[in-house]
Amino acid sequence: MSKLIFEQSRPNRTAGAQLAKAVAVTGIPAALRRTTRPLLPEVSELQVVRHYTRLSQKNFSIDTQFYPLGSCTMKYNPRVCNAVALQPGFAGRHPYAPDSSGQGLLASLFDLQQLLKEVTGMKEVSLTPAAGAQGEFAGVAMIRAYHDSRNDTARSEIIVPDAAHGTNPATAVMCGYKVKEIPTKGDGDIDIDALKAAVGPQTAGIMLTNPSTVGVFERNIKQIAKIVHDAGGLLYYDGANLNAILGKVRPGDMGFDVIHMNLHKTFSTPHGGGGPGAGPVGVSERLVPFLPIPMVTKEGDNYRWLSEQDRPQSIGRLSAFNGNIGVLIRAYVYALMLGREGMERVAEYATLNANYLAAELRRVGFELAYPERRATHEFIVTLKKEAKQFNATAMDFAKRLLDYGFHAPTTYFPLLVPECLLIEPTETESKDVLDGFVAALAMIRAEAEQNVDELKGAPYTLPSRRLDDVRAARELDLTWKGETTAS
């Protein structure tokens, strides 16, 4: 690790150009005043710039490496999207400034709502959820509000496939539901018989990702929709994998009642080391009254926010203000650049890249988890053979890939495929990069065969070797407490 910023601190050093004029504080009683200063570094501006620039250089990122993290859609984040969002008219506007002072922004958000409606086939869209998980929460809360509004209060269960993202069951519980898991069949589709047995008058809804988390298109989606709808339940679409079907098939046409989209995936807003994202929700006709506020409406030539007064049945507010506006602007700019044709090409080339990579990896001897199925925008390699033959795990392959200059795919998700790598190349990577990745994985396989102990020591070339997770969790060290460390 680099020396912590605190360890570079010297008493009374400051970044002087940033200091406001000193004024005395009057009127605040001593009992309410702070008596000891917080532990913040005393450093110069150059020290700060150098320290954080150097830290940035210890990261893998899309701008520097191929980042085929499955289920995360790590595609190129166009620079212009960021520049647009940081313009003073957008970045400097207060959330409670009058609507008249934000017509440019509101027009953009209104257009984005329209655009997302069109690509998803939903009736109306609210942009406000701040992340996919918050969009999920909004979606399930709307399902609940819908049933409650009809006094249909016996519905206590949400059905979730066993391969689902962990957020799905966690969200259902946050909305006061019990979770019923149903199995996935060997071919990756949902077990229809199990679904039929699971639905009933207690079913509030089902949460699905399509393409599913195992990287294949759920072919029986119409039948699933019918079974759940016939039981009085609603269908929730987890938009994690929307990139695979953009412009090809729409969740609304598949029969979904409510969806969330991850704009930080499909619409290429930055992941930022773990956020901020944006998780707009779209709904079918019957859920429109329950959408979270605020939303943007157009009256004549004017745009304004819709509030509680306009939408009395809304599930309410999810953030103090309007959601992650800066992220929405970036997504809007990206969508404008793609346009209709570009939007369709996203799914086409994401799918082409995934299927090519799957075919090439198979050619060099890797085993696909669903070899009989078409890959969507992502696919799963299982290393159970390598684990057995060479004692080399998915984790070992992942760590060694870092030495080859590639970020690792998602490992150990979905949980039902042993020793799995979930690989999503995205449409913005070239064939050359994919070929390089295949070559690297093939070399690692050869290394595993020759000397697995050396493989288990990887990575060797990064700022850190493999980190001790057990120690991190047993001997919690979550804040610096003043001791110095060797650099």
């Binding site: 212009v80 404008l336 980190l467």
Partner: protein, 453 residues
């Protein structure tokens, strides 16, 4: 093709390797009747030059006035270096640090952030952030319910001086989990929560008490009295605070005899642009004993195979990707990029920089309030001590006055009518360190003209 690098020859070779003759064939598992028919009603794509021009024009007409609104989002100076560095591609385009060895930069930033924000709050630990201040308060309430194993009531006392939007968010998030939010009235004279009002809840099973500082009116609460009440009545104390104010005000960990259990709030004042409300970052800190109930990502320092110090995500077993339906929260990510900005901001400002920005904001707001109250019919609503925001009563209908001010290029404050029916003739105003003497005078002049018109 925007952002797609494939040449025709690439495509041909790739299709050949897959063993299909067209890209279209790759979609053959999607039932034909579900496929999009015709073309989507979406405009043609624009090149970068065209889109930049369109968005420049749209941004140019926005937010052209002087801003005196606070109400939970504060316009502070942001050093140029903060976003220059934060938007470096290595921070901007990285993901959650799942592969710790390839993410030591982001992980160390988050560890430094946890240290800074925990210290500002005077508490032992912090997570790596939540979505915003309101969602942080909602998570703090859920956390208190989990942490207080002896309390069965799930009753939370919530002062009505907590930001109205925060209260709305808490309600939206917790309402399906059997949690009851009981609102506490404020003193009409001081604008602060009355500790005496709590008497009626003594001896009852109360899970937690929320304590805002400063409160929505900018008034300072009796945080020691409220925290001690919580301790005496076996309730978890949850502070909701402005982090910049903590440069000057007593840290929640030091409130009362033993400090609060949990502190949360909005990190926006720490270098995050206003951007019409987001993205911001919520922070949440707590005493060590509650660490396993903290939601969201947490970074720990550990060692690598060579025994050298390094950083990794830790306590992951609480999280949704492992614990699924029994997770502490459904939250996946944090607001990593915002945390990066806040950490760089706090490093540049240091304790002294934060103190000066806070002190100048208090001073400017007092000056502004004095100037405005010199106008006939304008008066302070409350007698309580203010931080950098103050409630004022206007002699004419608030909406019309604010609209007229906006026409003069002044965003004059936050109207209280829709949140507090009894304060329908009142606004809150805030003048941060970004406002000059001339700015304050411009507001006073404009208000004078509007009221005289």
């Amino acid at each position: 093709m925007p952002f797609i690098p494939h040449t025709e020859q690439d495509v041909a070779e790739m299709l050949d390797a897959i063993g299909v003759d067209s890209i279209e064939a790759l979609f053959d598992e999607i039932p034909a009747e579900l496929r999009v028919k015709g073309v989507l009603n979406i405009p043609d794509g624009m090149n970068e030059m065209a889109v930049a021009r369109l968005m420049r024009e749209r941004a140019a007409g926005d937010a052209t006035g002087l801003n005196f609104i606070g109400a939970g989002a504060y316009e502070h100076h942001i050093p140029q270096a903060v976003w220059d560095i934060t938007t470096r591609g290595e921070f901007y385009s990285a993901y959650t640090p799942y592969q710790a060895e390839a993410s030591q930069g982001t992980l160390q930033v988050l560890y430094e952030y946890q240290t800074m924000i925990a210290s500002l709050n005077g508490l032992d630990v912090s997570n790596a952030s939540l979505y915003d201040g309101a969602s942080a308060l909602a998570e703090a309430v859920l956390m208190a319910v989990r942490a207080h194993r002896k309390s069965k009531s799930k009753r939370i006392l919530m002062p009505s001086t907590v930001h109205p939007a925060y209260r709305a968010v808490v309600q939206a998030v917790v309402k399906n989990q059997g949690i009851e939010i009981v609102e506490l009235p404020f003193c009409a004279e001081t604008g602060a929560t009355l500790v005496a009002e709590l008497k009626q809840y003594e001896g009852q099973d109360i899970t937690a008490l929320v304590i805002p500082q400063p409160n929505f009116f900018g008034v300072l609460e009796d945080v020691d009295g409220l925290t001690d009440w919580a301790a005496t009545n076996n309730a978890i104390a949850i502070a909701v605070v402005n982090p910049l104010s903590l440069a000057l005000l007593k840290a929640p960990g030091q409130w009362g005899q033993s400090g609060v259990d949990i502190a949360c709030g909005e990190g926006q004042p720490l270098g995050i642009p206003l951007t019409s409300g987001g993205p911001y970052l919520g922070f949440i800190c707590c005493k060590q004993q509650h660490v396993r109930q903290l939601p969201g990502r947490i970074i720990g320092r550990t060692v690598d195979l060579d025994g050298k110090p390094g950083f990794a995500l830790t306590l992951q077993a609480r999280e949704q990707h492992i614990r699924r339906s029994k997770a502490t929260s459904n939250i996946c990510t944090n607001q990593g990029l915002m945390v990066t900005a806040a950490t760089i901001f706090m490093s540049l400002m240091g304790a002294e920089g934060l103190e000066r920005a806070a002190a100048q904001s208090i001073s400017n707001t007092q000056l502004l309030a004095d100037k405005l109250c010199a106008i006939n019919g304008v008066e302070r609503v409350f007698t309580g001590v203010n931080f950098h925001e103050v409630a004022l009563r206007l002699p004419q209908p608030v909406d019309a006055v604010l609209a007229a001010l906006a026409d003069k290029g002044i965003y004059g404050g936050c109207a209280l009518a829709s949140y507090y029916p009894g304060l329908s003739d009142c606004i809150t105003v805030c003048a941060t360190e970004t406002k000059s003497g001339a700015d304050l005078a411009a507001y006073a002049t404009a208000l004078n003209e509007v009221l005289a018109a």
